[in-house]
């Protein structure tokens, strides 16, 4: 097994769950990241809390990396973060590969109303039928994509 880390994974998962629980019980909002950043542009009165959440999301990762260094990637004790390279032999420039990935993720999560957090964590916890379908589809397709491209 390559770098299997169940304990930090569980602790991190509990923190993500607590973050979602707090936003739900405090403000009645779903902690879905694609939804939170996807509604920054229209003249939404909700833009202030969305920006506060997203800024804190960055600061939270940064602070944790300084307080608990060396868990893997990021921060003073960690390896530099790296994005994935295109599959070997595909002859596609890395920036283009990353841009296509970003476009698909932005577009797909917008029309599908959610991502790993909104559908994956909050939707499953709410026992939403739509979220069960979305999660089954995007996990299967992502696994298939990795298998077909041989990117790992």
């Amino acid at each position: 097994m390559d770098a299997f880390s169940p304990i930090p994974a569980l602790i991190g998962g509990v923190l993500i769950g607590l973050a979602s629980a707090l936003l739900w019980l405090g403000n009645g909002r779903i902690a879905g990241i694609s939804g939170i950043f996807g509604q920054l542009l229209p003249p939404a009165r909700t833009v202030v809390w969305r920006l506060a959440f997203l800024l804190a999301l960055v600061l939270g990762a940064l602070a944790a990396a300084w307080l608990i260094p060396g868990l893997g990637v990021g921060g003073p004790g960690g390896a530099p973060a790296q994005l994935a390279s295109p599959p070997p032999g595909w002859n596609i420039p890395a920036p283009l590969w990353i841009a296509i990935s970003g476009l698909l993720i932005g577009f797909g999560t917008k029309i599908g109303n959610g991502c790993t957090s909104g559908h994956g964590v909050c939707g499953i916890a709410r026992l939403s039928k739509r979220s069960f379908v979305a999660v089954g589809v995007f996990f299967s397709v992502a696994i298939l994509t990795v298998a077909v491209t041989g990117i790992v």
């Binding site: 097994m1 770098a3 880390s5 169940p6 930090p8 991190g12 998962g13 509990v14 923190l15 993500i16 769950g17 607590l18 973050a19 979602s20 629980a21 936003l23 739900w24 019980l25 405090g26 909002r29 779903i30 902690a31 542009l41 959440f53 804190a56 999301l57 960055v58 939270g60 990762a61 940064l62 602070a63 990396a65 608990i68 990021g74 960690g78 973060a81 790296q82 994005l83 994935a84 990935s101 970003g102 698909l104 993720i105 932005g106 797909g108 999560t109 917008k110 029309i111 109303n113 790993t116 957090s117 994956g120 964590v121 916890a125 039928k129 979305a134 397709v141 992502a142 994509t145 790992v152």
Partner: protein, 157 residues
């Protein structure tokens, strides 16, 4: 003043974001290559599969599951007048099509939207390209999909 501009409301959003970001770092979901090693089921037969991500999502769902149950016993959240429960119920084409496209993009890079934003803290090469593309994709989605919340509701309610 609108409920969502008061200090306790904004502080709740900020603390939630802090916890979320810390969770993404501690679980190492901020490492796209680790996420890809979870998604690489072809490594299961050879023993090279990294199942960590399953522990992240199951733990997060378990905590949120309890919170949703607590919420159901209450009229309203602490700092707003109502729970903003999603109003969509039907399984429709945009839901499934969107999940397919998101799945392809996620499998190409190992980045989903939460880690994408929190990676700003560690600023890997090409992240800006990724973020601009994700934002552009999201904006394009808002233009393409039956525009306006009412039409979307009519389709998916």
């Amino acid at each position: 003043m609108a409920a969502n501009l008061r200090l306790p409301y904004l502080a709740t959003a900020a603390v939630s974001g802090l916890l979320f970001g810390a969770g993404l770092y501690i679980s190492q979901m901020v490492d796209p290559l680790k996420v890809l090693r979870f998604l690489d089921f072809t490594a299961i037969p050879t023993g090279g599969w990294d199942p960590s991500l399953a522990f992240v999502i199951v733990a997060a769902i378990a905590v949120m599951f309890i919170a949703v149950r607590v919420g159901r016993s209450r009229q309203a959240p602490l700092f707003d007048t109502q729970f903003h429960e999603p109003e969509f119920h039907h399984i429709d084409a945009p839901l499934v099509g969107g999940a397919v496209l998101f799945g392809i993009g996620w499998g190409m890079s190992g980045i989903c939207p939460g880690p994408a934003i929190s990676l700003i803290a560690f600023w890997p090469d090409n992240l800006l390209i990724f973020l601009l593309a994700m934002f552009a994709g999201s904006y394009a989605g808002a233009l393409v999909i039956p525009s306006g919340r009412d039409k979307r509701l009519a389709l998916a309610r």
